[in-house]
Amino acid sequence: MKLLLWVPFFIFPALVQSNFILTIFIFSFILAIAAVSFNLIFGFTGQLSMFHAAAFGIAAYTTSLTVSIFQVSFWVALLPAICFTIVLSLVIGSICFKFKLRAFYFAVVTLAFSELARLVILNWNNVTNGTLGLMVLDKPSVWLPVGGMVKIDGAVGWYFFSLAALIFTVALCSLVLRSWIGRCFAAIRLNEDLAQTLGIDIFRYKLLSFTLANALAAIAGSLYAFYTGYIEPNYLSINQSLDIISMVLLGGRSSIIGPIAGAFVLTGLPHMIDLSGETRAMLYGLVLILTILIMPQGVIGTLATWRRAA
């Protein structure tokens, strides 16, 4: 039933040829992947991780570097990127959760780790080319029933590619969340002490949530790098994390599709109405504050409540 929601997205490119509109959608899709995955650890497990942008950026670098150094295809390079992210997440997650860092302290420590990651990439010049960043010239190619292997290039190709990736992410998340794993996440979010006495291994499931979220963020990062064709240390910056957080909050942290809405609004809106940088920044801050104070469940959440009320 839910699948029908996706139909408009598939017919959309037929309606608008505009490269500019499609670009907004592509960026929204890719960032939505990051937002949805972040919501696993933030919205569903209740842990405010600040490592998300780092996972996003590290994967972006790993993939592009693997491609450029070993001359392999995007898909081959994606694998080590995801594995590397998973290993990192396991290490950092174990540290944080072993020491039972809660709420704010977890946020700070993960933030510290992502800053360290950024500084390493920033100063590891001979590999990452430092602040000048790297150009990513290769494009991923996929096999299609019609036309066999095709390089993904141009807006329409990327539109469907990123859309597919987003659908994959959403599907994976919803499957995980409806399973016993999802129940454990909820238990941890709502009452850790009780969860423990019910025999739920908090450490294990927090770690799982953290790792899964980062692994999906890794996919988003690699896509982003290959779509923009350029990577720079700013991918790992705090602001990147904050953008993702605000997408989740705006859309709503209680649902899977909420963050997607958030990603669309925050990516698209600035280009719908032309504003000076300052006004836009103010608007952004205002929106963030109002969402939190007035509709804490975010756009989608609020709509849902209304529907239930009606």
């Binding site: 929601l5 408009p8 959309f12 309606l15 608008v16 505009s18 490269n19 500019f20 509109i21 670009t23 907004i24 960026f27 920033l122 100063n123 010049n125 430092g130 602040t131 000048l132 960043g133 150009m135 010239l137 923009t228 064709g229 350029y230 720079e232 700013n234 997607i260 809405a261 669309f264 609004v265 698209g268 600035p270 280009h271 719908m272 032309d274 000076s276 940088g277 300052e278 836009r280 920044a281």
Partner: protein, 386 residues
Amino acid sequence: MRRFIWLVILALTASPAAAQNVLKIGQIEAQTGANAIYGYMSSQGLALAVDQINKAGGFKVADKTYTIELIASDTRGDPKEASIQFKRLLETEGVKFVYGPFLSNVFVTIEPYAKQFNGKFLLMGGATRIHDFLGTPDHDFLLRTWNWDAGPKGFGNLMVDRLVAETGAKKIAMLFQNDQGGKVLVDIYTPLFKQKGIETQLELFEPGTKDFSAVLAKLAAGNADILFPSYSDAYLYDIVRQATEGNYFRKFFLVRGSLGPGLKNKDEIDDYFVYVPKYFEQAEKTDSKVAKFVADYKAFYKRDFPYDQAPLCSSSCYDHLFMLVEAMKKAGTVDDVAKIRKQLLSMTYEGLWKIRFDEKGEELFNFDILRMKRGGQISVTGVDAQ
């Protein structure tokens, strides 16, 4: 979600189709954010130029009068924002002349897309990375609107020559921000100094640093004769003050930034070399064009004239729009991009600056080298890069 899609479509249809006799000019610069220092001045200068041309009733090409519509959105130095805005300029707005970007990260992101439109538009930006693409196949749309430091005619060479001639420095300490601009400076100047047999010592600092005494002390321990500090005034004020107060350095060599920090500490400084595209404080008195520009700026923005940053107006804005218009008049067309480009490359424009492009499309303009001695007496040397 669907409602949003409708929003998009509405916005799309609502965007006005190019009206008669209106020439659309686009600009993609960072007007705000950490790297806005160049984009900020560029966007201000361009807006001012557009205003003046339109106030004058537009301009005449092939007995048709055109007014200019400027579409300048703020990239905040973010490649994502930039590429979306850029695509919008070329596709939905159908812009043929785009100013900017000054940031290399933005440029390399839009380059692959831009070259699909090769021959259909002109991109006039200052980014250092543009230099690498000039004159390469299907990059005829590129013009670099900033003097190149290196090379025989580059101001870097001229500055270093003068430094050697006038001070005979043996060792120079470089203190740059650890970012795009800083790295570029290292790449360009380290070899230059080496050629002239000057020893170099490098320290990079994190963006946002305000207290430099530690790193300055470290550099001073290396006994360099002269300090070559970061390129943005946001840091120069602090570096120069702390360097002199702490008695670490009293000689400075700058290729970016302004005289401001030097003047502020003039009694503590022995020697202060600066490259500035133009020394407005003086040019204002001697050159009527400059005086007019300053007056117009104050009138248009209703705020004081930013002498520190105004030299950056040379980057890609005020003059370049007038130059473009002139080229259009000469070429007798507003949309035959190839013709207009040929005109631009062949002409020399006398505005605030004397601007000429070399055969590859890289700009050469005259600039000033300032030298301030202890107590603040300043000697200005105008250099004609052509």
